[in-house]
């Protein structure tokens, strides 16, 4: 059982890190939560000399959790000013006026 918890903890920790890097918002909390649970279970089931890696996984998961929460709190959803897009809009409008003049 310890091995199962251990491998699940590794799997969800890696998944949690990947989700934290991607702009998936709070979805990353799912694998991170599972990583924390399995890391803790793995830590509890381990003998004294086996606790090092589960402990490390717990720390990594906790840090990933902090990163995700920090991103949610401090990084706002915003659209950057896109000069190319703005220029395309202006051009599109100019062309449209010409087209409409042609229709009349």
């Amino acid at each position: 059982m310890r091995k199962l918890f251990f491998y699940l903890a590794i799997f969800f920790s890696v998944l949690g890190i990947a989700f934290a890097v991607l702009p998936l918002g709070t979805i990353a909390l799912l694998p991170i939560g599972l990583a924390l649970i399995f890391s803790f279970l793995s830590f509890k089931k381990s003998e004294k000399n086996q606790k090092k890696i589960p402990k490390l996984l717990l720390i990594v998961s906790a840090l990933t959790l902090l990163v995700v929460v920090g991103k949610e709190v401090f990084i706002k959803d915003e659209v950057i000013i896109d000069k190319q897009f703005d220029q395309n809009k202006i051009e599109s409008k100019k062309d449209a006026v010409k087209e409409l003049e042609g229709l009349e």
Partner: protein, 251 residues
């Protein structure tokens, strides 16, 4: 994204009567997609109106812009622009334009509506392909998707009873789609700078694979003369999502 915008457009697409749509109105929405049960904000969608004058006529320029939030730009950048130039009173279109950029894929489309209202000259330019030109016939009441979006807001929902259905036809990708809209009653929705508002709840269905589920494609319009879309929920083959009003100005 094309399916999402098509769906959102369908959800906003019905009405009769005369224009109550003013120029210089701007509605901004946050578009979210349901991933594993959690809503993730993907993009900002803006709907704006503006008066455009030519030497002989005045048009109402209706535009929709969709742009991914900066955090998504590195992964899948979207910059879509949908435009319709319409008669300010009847909302009948003269020109429809669509320019999409979705993760590197581009498509530019234009429909010129002939004066008879039944013939459209359409041009399409896709990425790495030559421009194609096509003339096609449509029904006299068919309209492009953007102008129909605004017609929804001119519709008198007071005259409908819950469960009552209306049918309409829209043009998208050079095809006509029959669409039905069902009035479902009133609900209070809270969104953006408008706060809590009593809204008309409307369900949309279309004979297309773009929409899924019964009464899962919904729109709430404020139950006042402005009929501002407050919340839109959609169900498409690749999942569900919503668009919630974040700011309304010029109304």
């Amino acid at each position: 994204m094309k399916k999402v915008l098509f769906t959102l457009s369908l959800l906003l697409t019905f009405g009769n009567g005369y224009s109550q749509i003013q120029a210089n109105e701007k509605l901004v929405y946050a578009a979210s997609y349901n991933m594993s049960g959690l809503m993730t904000q993907l993009a900002q969608v803006s709907m704006a109106t503006e008066t455009i004058k030519t030497s002989k006529k005045t048009y109402l320029h209706l535009s929709w812009e969709a742009a991914t939030f900066s955090k998504w730009d590195s992964f899948f950048k979207i910059r879509d622009l949908y435009e319709s130039y319409v008669d300010p009173t009847t909302l009948r279109p003269s020109l429809y334009k669509r320019s999409i950029y979705e993760g590197g894929y581009t498509k530019v489309e234009k429909y010129i509506f002939n004066a008879d209202g039944r013939t459209i000259i359409g041009t399409t330019k896709k990425k790495n392909r030559p421009e194609t030109k096509n003339t096609f016939k449509v029904g006299s009441s068919s309209q492009d998707i953007i102008s129909m979006v605004y017609k929804l807001r001119t519709f008198d929902f007071k005259s409908l009873k819950p469960g009552q259905i209306k049918s309409f036809i829209i043009i998208f990708d050079q095809k006509e789609f029959p669409v039905s809209v069902k009035y479902m009653g009133k609900e209070t929705i809270s969104a953006g700078n408008l706060g809590a508002k009593e809204c008309y709840k409307i369900s949309i269905a279309a004979k297309t694979d773009a929409l899924r589920g019964k009464d899962k494609n919904l729109i709430w319009l404020t139950a006042d003369s402005k009929k501002i879309p407050m919340l839109i929920k959609f169900s498409i083959p690749v999942g569900t999502g919503q668009m919630k009003l974040s700011n309304a100005s010029g109304i």
